[in-house]
Amino acid sequence: MKRQPLLSVKDLRVEFPTRRGVLTAIDGISFNLREGEVLGVVGESGAGKSITGTAVIGLLEPPGRIAGGEIRLKGERIDNLPPAAMRKLRGKRIGMVFQDPLTSLNPLFTIGDQIIETIMTHLPVSEREARDRAVALLEEVGIPAAGDRLSAYPHQFSGGMRQRVVIALALCAEPELVIADEPTTALDVSVQSQIIRLLQRVCRDHGTAVMLITHDMGVIAETADRVAVMYSGRIAEIGPVRDVIKSPSHPYTIGLMGAIPSLTGDHDRLTQIPGSMPRLDSIPTGCAFNPRCSLTMERCRIERPELMPAGESQAACWKLLETEGAGR
């Protein structure tokens, strides 16, 4: 038995009750995250990546609710904590970075105000110590003349600089886990890789684990240790990045890999997965991917596959049973 995982999500179900019935946004997903590990979560829009992140940090917008399963942080259940206890945990033990740095910072407060308030909410330090800490953090994330910039307002920073500030804010109370929800999507292409590398470096230095939510396979390949591919509120495949990228097992992952343009690639057309992801109110029975899959069998339409071993990874596909039977 390995060491206790930092974050352990088991059979998590998230539901949104609506007037026309209950929609299941997350349908029984399980994964672990070790200390200091970077887990990439990929998938199309609406696959449930962000909802998984918000569920972990306890910020699901009502009427969304956790309907089943459990979330544990170092063995301690956090999905059923009272709001006040959960509030103390946010920022202190789990940090979060949002997609759009232009709107993540309060426009009417200086960034110094915002960082110092966050530090003082979670750590027993004086205002002076909090200020010193804020300057050190801003320097660490690469803000030049950090001491002077404390009194600057968010609009006085560029998008990339603001995302650096956001990262500093998410890390200012030394959380054990940071959930980064598409941290580079809203940024200029030229600064995207800078920010990703910064996030990676800072988290490695602090020993912070990262749950990196993105739809950019390139970002995952560059940064993550492991990757979870999500489809229709379920995990289609999860495993070490190299393994998943080099030899994807799930037809959906194979499709995703085919859709990545490569500089050295010899095929002149990118493959495309036909159709689109089903809406939450019309998820087909059996494997949710079956209408788009080229390898669909009878069983895929009836029975939902669970995650099963596929090399070093795990994937949820009935095909795996066959190949195994064929002597893998």
Partner: protein, 325 residues
């Protein structure tokens, strides 16, 4: 910032000049002022002498210049009906109106903002629905009716509060205040609520809708994700972002509170400027009407100027944009 202030000041002066022109023409429109000052048996020679004495034979521009010069020194001539300097008459009435207006504005803000924040945060609670129903009453009932209703309940039936007048006042220099005596404060309560109720409901609804908007923003979500205290998120991070429209509306409303205190003052027999103005309208007392017009315009212009400057205090983004120009 300084350049902006100067530009706004110049605009303010321009507005005041236009209002002064309108006040000035009031005298012309209503007829020959000499007719209103003298009896029927005055000879044409005497009229002409008076006309010369009053400077009415001078070119219009000279007369207008004189009017402005005098107005700038708070000299608005003599009231036809009271035979007293207008400035003195208004000076005596002004404190009553200003006290009433400011107390109702403070009431509207102190009650309206917390109610707005509460109803914005707890949309579906019973208390929120109650507040919203009350605010419908405040918005839809006319002021005089609310005043009469309050008089009926609290002055006539319960006999807790007086139904008219200012109570005892204390003289502080030329300023007479009712805020320092118990009876003065008691007399202020009903008219202040009557005058402020509409503004209160307006502010409450405004703060509510702004709050609903703001709590959905990313920076509030991010503040939650950082585990900030709920009170800090609601009253620091969210409320401050609702303030710009609230300041705008409150500023404008403060102007109208002062200008339209007339109705409340009539209902409660409040000895303020509104009552004086109504009397002057009935008696065609042009100097008072002109002075009142100038005074209200001055208050509006001043409040607007303050509101514009407050924007800069609240929103740092404006400071930079202006500096870049």
């Amino acid at each position: 910032m300084l350049a902006f202030t100067i530009r706004r000041l110049l605009q303010a002066i321009l507005v005041m000049l236009v209002v002064a022109l309108i006040s000035f023409t009031l005298f012309r429109f209503v007829g020959d002022p000499v007719n209103q000052m003298v009896g029927v048996e005055t000879t044409p020679e005497q009229r002409e002498a008076l006309r010369e004495l009053l400077g009415l034979n001078d070119p219009i521009l000279v007369q207008f210049g004189r009017f402005i010069t005098k107005a700038a020194q708070f000299d608005f001539g003599t009231s036809y009906q009271f035979r007293q300097p207008v400035a003195e008459l208004i000076g005596r009435r002004l404190p009553a109106t200003l006290e009433l207006s400011f107390v109702s504005a403070v009431f509207a803000l102190l009650v309206g903002i917390p109610m707005g924040v509460y109803t914005g945060l707890h949309r579906d609670s019973v208390l929120s629905k109650l507040f919203l129903s009350i605010s419908l009453i405040g918005i839809s009932l006319p002021t005089f009716f609310i005043g009469i209703l309050l008089i009926f309940v609290f002055a006539v039936t319960l006999q807790w509060l007086p139904s008219f007048g200012r109570g005892e006042v204390v003289q502080l220099g030329w300023w007479s205040t009712g805020l320092l005596t118990w009876s003065g404060i008691k007399a202020l309560i009903l008219p202040a609520i009557t005058l402020g109720l509409f503004q209160m409901t307006l502010i409450m609804r405004l703060v509510r809708s702004e709050m609903l908007e703001v709590i959905r923003t990313d920076y509030i979500k991010f503040a939650r994700a950082r585990g900030l205290r709920q009170r800090s998120i609601n009253f620091r991070h969210a409320l401050k972002n609702t303030l710009v429209p609230v300041i705008t509306i409150t500023g404008l409303q403060l102007g109208s509170i002062i200008a339209f205190a007339i109705i409340t003052e009539t209902v409660f027999q409040w000895p303020g400027m509104g009552l004086l103005f109504l009397q002057s309208v009935q008696n065609v007392d042009i100097p008072i009407m002109a002075a009142y017009l100038m005074l209200i315009a001055f208050l509006f212009v001043t409040i607007n100027l303050i509101v514009d400057l407050l924007y800069f205090r609240v929103d740092p983004r404006l400071r930079v944009e202006r500096a870049a120009h």
